[in-house]
Symmetry: C5
Subunit: 291 residues, 5 copies
């Protein structure tokens, strides 16, 4: 996640840089042809530009709204995971008759959220999990398809061990199910990209529109065409790029939902609730980016 | 579900191919009449085009938003089914006193999701169900209207058999009800298409608009009319087509929510939770399409 | 609910037929005055038309979105009723100690959904209810304001009769409350029409806009005015009409949420779950319309 | 709430009457200056008008959507109150061992909804409450800040009196909490008006835009300016006024959510459920308005 | 939160004051160059302005909708906190066997909401907490990362002390979890600003658009350019500023969700429910602003 205050102009230009340079070159070329060869070859009247522009805007506006909705839902699901982790630890400490089991549950939840982060980013979790889980369990986990779900199911098996009152067990089971639901939602966003039609077409149409822009503008703008056309193209390319950035929030990119920060924060909160002296610090941003 | 990276231009042209060819032919015909017969016969001033264009955009924008909302709700309901299936298996293994019953419940849930997939795609589930259910039950299922609902109700009858604590039975009953709600939501989307007015009118109006386009553009575009008019028509036809693709997500088409993949994934997760050596692999995409 | 594939052009023309004929007559009249009397009397420059058109589009777009949201919420609430009915029957059969009471509960739920359908459509339910309820109860029901709510409350009184475990009774009470909530939501949509400002103004403004259209177009379209103006007017009138159709989903019209189909389907599912040989068939569409 | 079928043109003209008259006067004045003094003094070219118009439309469209969402949420929260009131009465009658306590709970809930209506409309509830509550409680209520919340809390204290099974008490506590949540949502809407920026700016900008309209139109419309400009201004002023009407739904105005009708309906339903002969009638509309 | 009726023109001008003055200066400069140096140097034809204007409107409209949604979600989460606080106090008084414990729980909840307000505004809570919590606990709280969460966890540990029935303990645990969820939602909004692309780009593009405005308008507006261009710029700058104001609702600014008012109101309600004579008054607005 990019923190506020970092998006200076240099960053922005780099942001849509390469297509912008190509666009500028094309704009200059069109203007040159118009100036040296003659207007008849490149003029393109205004009406279709406006029509195309509004159709492209429908695509981009829909895609941006949807991409942001995906990003924000991903963030909200991780928020739900933070809440459910705290509730699981609090309920384990309050409702289970056996405190040592409660401590185990809280630590397993920490292992779970780290494993979930690795799972969503398609990274191998084994090194990180060694600190939290026994070697037997780690070995077994290597043979399952969904590591965090397996850790979660193993935690559930532990809960009845201290023979809590059934109603309290049911309360914990509900929190376990909230955790399951949050994980399922994240996997849905990860495994179901925006339908290809919405992902690819806006790119094609926006690029096509930017190619047509100088043809339509050169008659009225003349030698100012590269300026006007590049500025307008920049806006449309930036709108396109924002959608690209936001649509997949678990890709280990700078626009990701900051999973490392969130899982660290869960770990700190849970170990604070256990009264441990952990010495952990919240994740610091690197070059204005929170991972 | 079409996977990212497959929508090359050839695919896109095929996508709205036939209407596009007809549109091009019409555009050429209009331009030819204008060129050979004279402008008076085909010119159509600009204003109504813009007005029509914005009204058509209202239709298409509304329909695309709604069609995508249907698709995404269908996907979300299947996500809820994944979560509830995991929770049912986990709770059965954790809360039921009798492990063999828990195993039965998990296997019946696998049968249930396969039956639900077949039910939504209007396919006969009998062959697939034979692996999971007894012949008596299969025979009885043939006489009911809603096969997955009947399997689900039969599972519910089994739950009290091992005489669990009532509170744990109530917890399982809640998960059973989550499953029921997810199925009901999928049936709602399947059985209630987008109202005809929203489904048919945009098609008629978009096609009509594409027919008027060259008439309105020929005066200013001249011989470039087929190009400009076809490009603009392509955008509108593509917007129309996207809505068509997305609005019905359970039709066994390439744009479907990938039911086969999802039910396979549920089967793998549940059998992993039971500790079975199943040897099942996630569904692989075929030609870039996940079914 | 109109089924897909029925909206041929004839149906659509009938759909906005009468206002369209009037509009055409007016367009022809305006064009005739312009042609025979002279342009000075009827010309109306373009700018206000575009401004008015965009303001009218804001109204229509808002109203269509809202009307569809009402329709879809109504459908979703009936979906919730389907789910809750199945859950009530399943839980009654599974959790109540007394099967004959469970059968009564399921049959009363069937009576309830039929009574609710009649209540929403403001029809007398007595004939249909005679098959399901005793004469004493029917007599008492005639004196209450809200018949389905009274049937529902009477069912609730039966539940504790077989002295189930309190937790299972509480589980059933929750399902009863889901049913109450769904009914309350339907009554909200039925009793609270779209605020008059949103219902009436779009109609007035759209009609007014259609009257101004030929005045603004006649200068540039000339003798083509009736064509261009009627086509544009058709789009706007159709947008207006769609909102009218969708906004009130319980009016016994062809655009209704198909209550008869849904309540029949609930009856079939519940009687299937009881193992009854009912011989009921799903409702068939009549002339492409599902009631 | 204004009932359908009342918004005849007279009502609508009265609706935005005063600003419309001022607008007409201004339009005539501008046209007169243009006609007698000369065009140079008042002409204003078209471009900024279109730009301003689209910016104003963004404001008005956002505000209308938000104002309606507030109104509909208010209505939905009262719908939830209707549902929860029925559920509370039904559960009290079904789950409490002591029927006389159940009757008291139902009557106190009736007092509660009346007190809540008065609280939201900032009216003194004492007269109405005398029929339902004892003098001791009424005296104590005069010293608290939130009367309905205090009545609600007192009801909660009564519930454990007949020593119901804890699970049934917990079920009732959940319904009590649903009631609390609905009240809290209504207070949120009442106490948090639309942020001033959204409430005030659209008014200023719409009025400013209406003042500029004749300046921009007079050149092309000439003597038709008052007509065209007033019609366009009417649309924008009506859009503005709709937002004003809808944004605050608990103000004892004709556009309010019909609280009197809803609380009366709750009272009838609950007393019907108790089997009382109350002789109450639903509230009748007065001059087409339901209060 | 700014109360209604305060946004007089002076306030509004101050609102976007500085950029507006710069804009006016630029507009005057452009007009002066055009007038004295000659049109050739500054004219910029109309088409790209309209295109840029609509792209900027897409940005601003999306950002305003999202910023308001954040603000309103923040307010709704605090509404949920009000509801859950009342429910916690009511349930503690009703369901716990020990009234003195219930009083402690209610007072701890008051401390909790004050600590949460300070936490969200990044203020030191120690002075305010001294009135509510013991010195031992305060000392321990100084070493944890999340003070309100630690207070909340400590409250949870107290609940089982009076050995309530497990089901009632579970009911309280659910309310505790609602409180946790509300806090987590607020922290999500606080810690996750609008993605930089949506926060920074609209500002750059709006400012850039305002710079281009007089260049595009000077040809047709002539000496009126500063007026027309500044008025249009004002609308766009105000739209931009509204988004800035609303997007971060917990910053101790005048547009904040009124946390001080809400926490005071929770304190009054809870102490009223305990029957205390607290003498507290609701927070009064200061200069029309509620903090």
């Amino acid at each position: 996640m990019i923190l506020p205050g970092r998006a200076h102009v240099g960053h922005i230009l780099r942001y849509v840089g390469r297509p912008l340079v190509w666009l500028l070159a094309w704009d200059v070329a069109v203007t040159a042809v118009w100036y040296f060869v003659g207007p008849g070859w490149v003029e393109f009247p205004a009406l279709p530009l406006t029509l195309l522009g509004s159709a492209v805007a429908v695509y981009l506006s829909f895609r941006n709204t949807t991409a942001y909705a995906r990003w924000w839902e991903a963030r909200t699901l991780w928020g739900a995971m933070v809440n459910a982790s705290r509730t699981l630890a609090r309920d384990a400490l309050t409702l289970l008759p056996d405190r040592s089991l409660a401590v185990t549950v809280a630590h397993r939840q920490i292992a779970y959220v780290h494993a979930l982060r690795m799972h969503l980013r398609r990274q191998a979790p084994w090194e990180e999990l060694e600190a939290h889980l026994g070697t037997d369990e780690l070995k077994r986990l290597r043979s399952v398809a969904n590591v965090p779900n397996a850790i979660h199911a193993d935690t559930a098996v532990l809960l009845p061990e201290s023979r809590p009152d059934p109603i309290l067990l049911a309360t914990l089971a509900r929190t376990m199910s909230d955790i399951s639901n949050a994980q399922g939602g994240m996997e849905r966003i990860k495994n179901t990209p925006l339908p290809q039609q919405y992902a690819t077409y806006p790119a094609i149409f926006t690029h096509g529109f930017c190619l047509l822009l100088p043809l339509g503008l050169v008659e009225s703008l003349g030698l100012y065409t590269p300026l006007g056309s590049t500025v307008a193209g920049f806006l449309f390319l930036a709108l396109l790029q924002i959608g690209n950035d936001m649509q997949n929030p678990f890709e280990n990119k700078e626009d990701d939902v900051p999973l490392t920060t969130l899982t660290r924060s869960i770990e700190i909160d849970l170990r604070d609730m256990l009264g441990e002296h952990h010495g952990l610090e919240p994740v610091k941003p690197v070059d204005g980016i929170l991972w």
